[in-house]
């Protein structure tokens, strides 16, 4: 995509008028949106699915009280929740190559975001699993179900329903969090805004613009969350 302003020499850009600013913002909009849709959103979705898988496994290990694995899970949650996401990104991307583990920027971002949010979501899931009454589990055994059937038919569906709002929040915070991938050179939406800004020096305008795009995405997710909650509420009955 040819963006005419990108070739304008810097000394002219310093004299940009208000109408020029809007021109820049208008022309960078499709570019930012395109990076948002092609990079930020898929990065969020893939990382979230990873986080979801991790969280369910980690929560179920604790729920079932599997001996040594349980300790490993607690350790994982302790470390992840006790260190900053930004530091985790740097550690994996800039630190690990020195011990021979080199990952590309994008896989690094997916792994770090997945494992990071996975720790928080595991705690959400653990609470949700425990909120399903023990009596239902016992009733399951009494009608001849085994542990896996009880988890699959009774406990997990109810836990997901309970956890849904909190998991949605995780998804929204993850979407915003993907902007941190810019710091390890992933060319996503925010990084793109930085690149454009590096040429046109319109920090206020461009960062406001990118903020509004994040806001738009998050608003869409919030809307989906409400839809989902309504759907889940009808499924399981509403109190009379």
């Amino acid at each position: 995509m040819a963006l005419p302003f990108l070739s304008i020499p810097a000394n002219i850009i310093t004299n940009i008028t208000e109408s020029r600013l809007f021109g820049i913002l208008w022309e960078s909009l499709p570019r930012l949106l395109s990076y948002g849709i092609r990079v930020t959103v898929p990065l969020t979705i893939v990382s979230f699915i990873l986080a979801l898988l991790i969280s369910v496994v980690v929560a179920m290990i604790q729920y079932a009280d599997v001996k040594i694995l349980r300790q490993i899970c607690r350790f994982y949650i302790w470390v992840i929740r006790g260190t900053p996401l930004l530091v985790q990104l740097y550690l994996v991307f800039y630190g690990l190559p020195s011990v021979g583990i080199t990952l590309d920027a994008l896989p690094t971002a997916i792994l770090v975001f997945g494992f990071n949010e996975g720790a928080y979501m595991a705690e959400t899931m653990r609470g949700a699993l425990q909120s399903v009454s023990v009596g239902q589990v016992e009733a399951g055994y009494c009608v001849g179900l085994n542990y896996i059937q009880i988890m699959w038919h009774i406990v997990l569906p109810q836990a997901f329903r309970t956890a849904f709002p909190a998991l949605s929040n995780s998804l929204i915070s993850m979407l915003k969090g993907t902007s941190m991938a810019a710091t390890i050179t992933v060319m996503e939406m925010f990084r793109q805004a930085q690149v454009i800004n590096g040429r046109v020096y319109e920090s206020l305008g461009l960062y406001t613009e990118v903020a509004l795009i994040y806001l738009l995405f998050c608003t869409l997710l919030t809307w989906l969350q409400h839809k989902g909650e309504k759907k889940l509420a009808s499924f399981g009955g509403t109190k009379k």
Partner: protein, 248 residues
């Protein structure tokens, strides 16, 4: 003898809750398990269905003898297929409809096909008067309705015996009658039942035998009429007396 339970012991941390409980149940018996609060009635029933692991004791069910502390998962599963359990607080599956609550054990637990399970479930729900609520969820039902669905869930697998742990204790007074009526009908149809209850009128008029427990021991055990008219021990006399005076 259909069910022969011997010398059940159970200890929680440092309190002995069951100190050697024996019980014989014949086919068609309705045994009322009575006793003051904390005497171990619930614990006994839970041990018998392996919801709690007894520290000592044996069960003989239809000729199969099982050592309670060491019974394997397989063994427990086999025994549970012959029994049903009705809880004080119903414990219906909250994410399932009335019909699904009853069919789940049949399809997933007993590997029936869906159509067959549905027929059996509808029949069981009809027997407890809940056939008109198939698509309701538990939260949409009254306590009495939930407990009747729970009974249907137990009935559906054609158990040889049903254990009831205070099935009406969580109910509002005006809902107790509908559940007791269902149980009374089951008793008349010859269902074998083990019922922990504080409903003396029900115990007196429906049960065939009484097991009176206190402090983890069986104080008295015998035919219902005998227990209420000529209690053998002083404790049973006091217990019956306290219930009669409590009602006045």
């Amino acid at each position: 003898m259909m069910l022969k339970i011997r010398d059940v012991h159970k200890r929680f941390e440092n309190t002995d809750v069951l100190k050697g409980i024996d019980l014989d149940v014949e086919k068609g018996d309705v045994v009322a398990i009575l006793g003051p609060s904390g005497s171990g009635k619930t614990t006994f029933l839970r041990c018998v269905n392996f919801l709690e692991r007894a520290d000592k004791g044996t069960i003989n069910f239809d000729g199969i003898t099982v050592d309670m502390p060491t019974a394997t998962k397989q063994m427990i599963h086999t025994l549970r297929k012959k029994t049903a359990f009705v809880f004080q607080n119903y414990n219906l599956f909250q994410n399932k409809t009335v019909l699904q609550n009853v069919t789940l054990g049949l399809t997933a637990g007993l590997h029936m096909n869906k159509a067959e399970a549905r027929d059996i479930a509808e029949d069981a729900l009809r027997r407890v008067g809940m056939a008109d609520k198939l698509t309701s969820y538990p939260v949409q039902l009254s306590g009495g309705q939930q407990q009747r669905v729970a009974i249907a869930r137990g009935l559906a697998s054609s158990p040889e015996i049903i254990y009831f742990d205070e099935p009406t204790s969580a109910l509002d007074p005006e809902l107790i009658g509908e559940v007791l009526a269902v149980m009374r009908r089951l008793a008349e149809e010859g269902m074998t039942m083990l019922v922990v209850t504080h409903e003396m009128e029900f115990a007196r008029s429906v049960s065939s035998r009484v097991l009176f427990m206190e402090g983890g021991y069986v104080i008295e055990s015998g035919p219902t009429a005998e227990f209420f008219q000529h209690p053998k021990t002083q404790r049973s006399q006091e217990f019956i007396h306290s219930l009669l005076s409590a009602r006045e």
